[in-house]
């Protein structure tokens, strides 16, 4: 199809859809209308029966935990897929030489950057851990905290240079973290079945409302997600940064064009 014909076809289809879309939008609940019955019910149940202040975590890890298990493994699939595709082209070797734009000056790392990273890195990691641990009390949780932890490792790259970063970060460990975290989450589903309860039933003591130790099984699931997300995202950073390295040998021309 020529671009013009394609646009005409798309335009005609969208014009045909327009009256339907208008009819649907007119009949939707008003903006700001009372929240759905399902949500209201959960709000009533969760603080009383699970001692959890953060409803989102309660939905994610308890009421609709299976969805989160699926999402966790979707992330695992996406990261594994990325690794397969990037390594398939690049190979598994690592080199220390960065690709360089000819004619561009290479500035040495300023001491201010190193200092800032050394100061901010541990603080950022601490904040990530805080977000992970307080999943059942304040907004946040394993996923959000895991991403913060992973971005903390990037500060090691900015502050200490690529070689320093690669010395700290080992791909196999990241695989183990990612797989181990996901395994922990899946086992949190299976383990309650050994006691005769349902899959992912919250069989642990629920703790105190608004306390760090509240929510029972949710805390362990949350730790699994944090581990998997932190390992997975660091793996992604590693793979993408490795793409900026120079190819090991001259026989892989795909590197420059990628």
């Amino acid at each position: 199809m020529s671009p013009r014909l394609r646009l005409a076809l798309l335009g005609a289809a969208l014009a045909g859809l327009l009256p339907g879309a208008v009819a649907v939008i007119r009949r939707l609940p008003e903006f700001g209308a009372t929240i759905a019955a399902y949500g209201e019910r959960i709000n009533a149940i969760v603080p009383a029966e699970r001692h959890v202040a953060n409803m989102v975590s309660a939905i994610n890890f308890d009421l609709r935990g299976l969805d989160t298990l699926g999402e966790e493994f979707m992330l695992l699939a996406a990261i594994t897929g990325t690794v397969v595709l990037l390594r398939g082209r690049r190979g598994e070797n690592t080199t220390d030489r960065a690709m360089r734009l000819p004619g561009r000056a290479i500035l040495p790392r300023s001491e201010a950057v190193v200092l800032a990273c050394r100061l901010a890195g541990p603080l950022l990691m601490m904040f990530g851990l805080y977000v992970v641990l307080h999943a059942t009390v304040t907004p946040g949780g394993g996923f959000q905290g895991g991403v913060i932890l992973a971005s903390g490792t990037l500060l090691a790259y900015v502050g200490e240079g690529y070689a320093g970063w690669r010395d700290v970060i080992r791909s196999h460990w990241l695989d183990a973290m990612e797989g181990g975290g996901a395994l922990l989450f899946a086992l949190c589903g299976l383990a309650p079945m050994l006691t005769g309860a349902a899959f992912m039933q919250n069989v642990l003591p629920f703790g105190t409302f608004r306390d760090l130790f509240s929510g029972g099984l949710m805390l362990i699931e949350n730790a699994g997600v944090a581990l998997a997300v932190c390992g997975g995202f660091t793996q992604l950073f590693l793979e993408f940064l490795e793409e900026t390295r120079e190819a090991a040998g001259p026989e892989e021309p795909g590197e420059e064009s990628a």
Partner: protein
């Protein structure tokens, strides 16, 4: 002894396992991948898939004429309102899950050692793909359905691009864009339905839909969700991504794509229309025209496009479009016979098409080509593969034996009186796809057809797959699939089907399950053989016969080829057209 052990297992324990077991195994594989010796991922993955299949079969046989319901986290509904996520497994869903487990196990055997260099990453993606499919079959929660739909897509994107050639990346990109759009549509549809029903449980939504009457929000929700599932099921005009993706994926992955993933789109549509939207008169009025119309179009168009291909995997991909269309017409019949026929067809087609993609993989591995013309006569050394391909071609055309035939005869019975044009389209689709496969068999394994001369060079990229496995290891799984299709006792299916469909559709589908006439089964077989013979012996026929055929078919054929441009913009424009078609059918109903 084992029987006693099995019967001691409470059904309630079984239901989450077919999803949980592959997830656990794939997490272990990922965590320990670099430590595992070479063949262990192969063995583990095969055993896991087999376990999943056995578990599903066990649940299916326990389900009887009802459904096994399981609430995750122990959140049973309170006052009739579902709080958590439930699985609801009826016999039909369970047996389809069992078939999927078996198909994966055989695909893993077929791919033995093929993916050695990836540290088990291939197996991880495939096991995730498997778990997602089973979750998709079992769930009774609309958002959970979406989660598994997306896990399926994400795993499939990476598997498609595995070869990393330009064509593989282009095919995977088209697949990713179109299927991501499908995900967006589905999520939008779920949002609309949730706005009206205020719950995500199938039963709760069904009650709200039945109460809503003629409501544009419900119709809009159906339109978006149905479009997403029809994109997966590759119905015209959503079909374009399929041929690009299936043709370039590694053969063991194509086996799963064509054998199970596409049919699951049909399966999801069948479940939602029968369970969730049974109470909406508007949707039920629109469905017959919409599904039989688009299904019939897919059946004929896919069959015709298959006949035009020389790239063997692309040929098979188009035949999958045709057969998915045939399944859709069955759902459009809105009867127990139609939906039952479609579900039996899903399994039968998966076995035959899985076998055919394995043969394509054998040719790629042992003969280093996938081009029908270039392979002419080169199949002589691997005769058994040729025999299997001929049998599969005949089964595809509708040879009256086996599961695929039983499904298509049920479809014929459901469509013959009520939707004659869809009935004819079913016969045409079967004949065309059967002819395409038989023609390729004749040319590759018997060296029939005109000597191509200069045309022998394939116009597509050089393709080959690793030839690191003995022939019997690749041919074995293929023969098992074809054999299973033939030996599944028809009486058993016949006895199982009425109750299973009743449980599957929650009693919303009526009508008996009559089989179509025998002539309707033989007709496409004869036509397929005649068409294949014409294509192979054309050069020996008098020109007076050949010329009018060539003159009349070349122009529309070229037009069809031009439509499948491979350009993502075109595909998105057609997607919008399809969406408008569904919306139009709903508005007119």
């Amino acid at each position: 002894m084992t029987n006693a052990l099995l019967s001691a297992l409470p059904t309630a324990i079984l239901v989450p396992l077919p999803v949980a077991v592959p997830l656990v195994v794939c997490a272990i594989l990922l965590a320990t991948a670099h430590l595992l010796p070479g063949r262990l991922p192969d063995i583990l993955a095969t055993l896991t898939a087999l376990t999943v299949g056995i578990l599903c079969a066990l649940i299916a046989s326990r389900a009887g004429d009802g459904a096994v319901t399981y609430w995750f986290g122990g959140w049973e509904p309170r006052d009739g309102v579902a709080l958590g996520i439930g699985f609801s497994v009826d016999a039909a869903s369970g047996w389809i899950g069992a078939f999927i487990g078996l198909l994966y196990a055989l695909a893993f055997v077929f791919a033995w050692g093929f993916f050695g260099r990836t540290h088990g990453h291939f197996h991880i993606l495939m096991l995730l793909f498997l778990a997602a499919m089973i979750g998709f079959c079992f769930t009774r929660d609309l958002f959970n359905l979406f989660v598994w739909f997306e896990v399926m897509s994400v795993a499939a994107f990476a598997l498609t691009a595995y070869h990393l050639e330009e064509s593989a990346l282009a095919g995977a990109l088209n697949f990713t864009v179109i299927n991501s759009l499908a995900g967006f549509l589905m999520l939008g549809g779920i949002g609309l339905l949730y706005a009206r029903a205020e719950t995500l449980d199938f039963a709760g939504i069904a009650a709200a839909v039945a109460n809503a009457g003629r409501d544009p929000v419900v119709a809009g929700g159906f339109c978006l969700v149905a479009a997403a599932l029809m994109i997966k099921a590759a119905a015209v005009p959503f079909q374009f991504w399929l041929a690009d993706a299936h043709a370039v994926a590694p053969s063991p992955v194509s086996v799963i794509f064509s054998g199970a993933m596409v049919s699951l789109g049909v399966f999801g549509l069948a479940k939602l229309t029968a369970v969730v939207f049974a109470g909406s008169a508007q949707v039920q009025d629109a469905l017959p025209t919409l599904l039989t119309g688009l299904g019939a179009l897919s059946a004929v168009l896919g069959g015709w496009m298959a006949l035009l291909q020389r790239h063997l995997k692309r040929l098979l991909a188009f035949s999958t479009i045709s057969h998915a269309g045939i399944m859709l017409t069955g759902i459009g019949a809105l009867s127990a016979g139609g939906t039952g026929g479609a579900l039996v067809y899903v399994v039968g087609h998966g076995m035959v098409k899985g076998g055919l993609f394995m043969i394509a993989g054998i040719l790629l591995a042992t003969r280093a080509s996938i081009d029908e013309i270039a392979l002419r006569g080169l199949g002589r050394g691997i005769g058994p593969a040729g025999a299997a391909m001929a049998v599969a071609g005949l089964l595809l055309a509708g040879l009256p034996v086996g599961l695929l035939d039983q499904g298509s005869r049920l479809l014929h019975g459901a469509l013959e009186g009520t939707h004659p044009y869809a009935f004819v389209a079913n016969l045409t689709g079967a004949a065309l796809t059967g002819a395409a496969v038989l023609r390729a068999t004749g040319r590759i394994f018997l060296g029939l057809g005109e000597d191509p001369g200069d045309e022998a060079g394939a116009p597509s990229e050089e393709e080959r797959e690793k030839a690191d496995r003995p022939l019997w290891l690749m041919l074995g799984p293929c023969c098992i699939l074809l054999l299973l299709d033939v030996i599944v006792p028809p009486a058993w299916v016949e006895a199982l089907a009425p109750d299973a469909i009743n449980a599957f559709a929650h009693g919303t589908l009526t009508g008996g399950m009559e089989e179509g006439p025998l002539w309707a089964a033989w007709c496409p077989v004869g036509a397929a053989i005649a068409l294949a013979a014409y294509a192979l012996f054309r050069h020996k026929l008098p020109r007076a016969i050949v010329r009018p055929v060539r003159a009349t078919q070349s122009l529309p054929a070229r037009g069809l080829e031009a439509l499948h441009s491979g350009l993502i913009g075109d595909y998105v424009a057609w997607l919008a057209v399809g969406l408008a078609l569904i919306a139009g059918a709903l508005a007119l109903a």
